[in-house]
Symmetry: C2
Subunit: 253 residues, 2 copies
């Protein structure tokens, strides 16, 4: 199954969810490929040490812009069953660089995945905070979407735009079978604003909202600066419990 983690609102926990969901599925024994499609390369920076900087040719940039086989870019991580396709900052020029392309630019990622998709149980794609060509490529290549939403006025109002984009991808035949696997509340705190948002989300998305919510938990932040996922850094933390529960819910759907 190919799942994109997407929301054009910045800082809602997309990368954190991509990292910990992928690791959680790998620990359960599933073969997982994690693709970093964000030029910020946050996911890449967790799994690959700064000094082993990834050259452009060994990043997703080369597969998307030069049709370089994805097979040659996939890297192993220290987590068993989890492989990574790293990103590169040059990816931020994709919309401009692909603008002259004569082929269907939105399907570049879908085409790149076709030769290797059978080798994995789950392919998880982290997307940038925008609705540009990179995110459209992720939506076109995916079967399902997971939408992290944090508790804030801007996060809620952005969902309308996201829904419209998903509809556009479905209706323009780019990917008619694309569906939302679930919406996950992140950064949940015990404030009234948080409670309000959770209630509004359940009203807006109904059963598509996961039962699992992700609390604000400093261990999730610390795991990143320790270059690993939450299950290796703080397996007993609230963050680890929450993402373990999310993994379980994803497997059930």
């Amino acid at each position: 199954m190919i799942i994109s983690i997407t929301n054009q609102k910045g800082g809602v926990g997309k990368s954190t969810t991509a990292i910990n969901l992928s690791a959680g599925l790998a620990i359960e024994g599933y073969k997982v490929l994690l693709i970093d499609l964000d030029p910020q390369a946050n996911v890449t920076k967790v799994f690959i040490n700064a000094e082993d900087e990834i050259p452009l040719q060994r990043s997703i940039y080369n597969a998307l812009l030069n049709f370089y086989p994805l097979e040659n870019i996939i890297q192993e991580t220290q987590t068993k069953n989890l492989c990574l396709v790293p990103s590169h900052i040059r990816l931020s020029g994709t919309d401009l660089e692909l603008s002259q392309a004569m082929d269907n630019r939105s399907e570049r990622l879908k085409r790149a995945l076709e030769p290797i998709v059978q080798q994995y149980d789950y392919i998880i794609i982290d997307t940038p905070p925008s609705l540009g060509l990179l995110t459209i490529n992720a939506l076109t290549a995916s079967e399902k979407l997971i939408i992290p939403v944090s508790t804030g006025f801007f996060a809620l109002t952005g969902l309308v735009q996201l829904r419209e984009t998903i509809q556009m991808v479905k209706q323009t035949q780019l990917n008619p079978s694309l569906n939302i696997l679930g919406v996950v509340c992140t950064f949940l705190e015990r404030t009234n604003v948080s409670k309000d948002v959770e209630k509004q989300l359940r009203d807006y998305f109904g059963h598509q909202v996961f039962n699992t919510t992700i609390p604000k938990n400093i261990s999730l932040e610390e795991a990143h600066s320790n270059h690993t996922h939450i299950f290796a850094y703080a397996p007993k933390s609230q963050g680890a419990q929450a993402y373990k529960a999310l993994v379980k819910e994803v497997l059930e759907r």
Copy 2:
């Protein structure tokens, strides 16, 4: 003075800083123009009620893509001395739509501002979380930058990319006189991670880091859902005190 609020990392407080800095300067009696250059239109959604949805022709989209005079797009807000140029979701297609343009795409905003720049003391530009053409337009049009940085591993690692982009804008003669007015720590909490980040920022940027830091304060979030800035919503809150101090520091620099 034209100031862009920029950082490609998502969710670090760009829009919140653009809103409250603009309002704070307007309250001090300066004539301020606030430009929403983010397709998410978060700044626009605070100042303009949802039912008065801004048509595409009356948004920055029309000025950037069709050279429509900015003068005809500027709207008054309920805050004296503060005017707004609203955004529109269609802006998310700018990189693709401007790709065929024969002129220098990076200077569209700069050209649009020339006829009206004399009418304002401060022009504040909120930018999207990316390093695409919209942000390059903001960097090209601005004299100064304010960089909000939140306390997280990803936020810190992203600064290297941001610095490289600023250097590129300066060296390619797009805007040789662009300078950082200051870096502001946002979402500061009394945790060790927060303290570490603040120290690392002061080591990396030295005196460019504002003395003022912005604490995590729920009133800043609530002000947005109440369609106003912090000085009107909760003038005695920690958030209001912090942004008032930031306004003072910006005026002194």
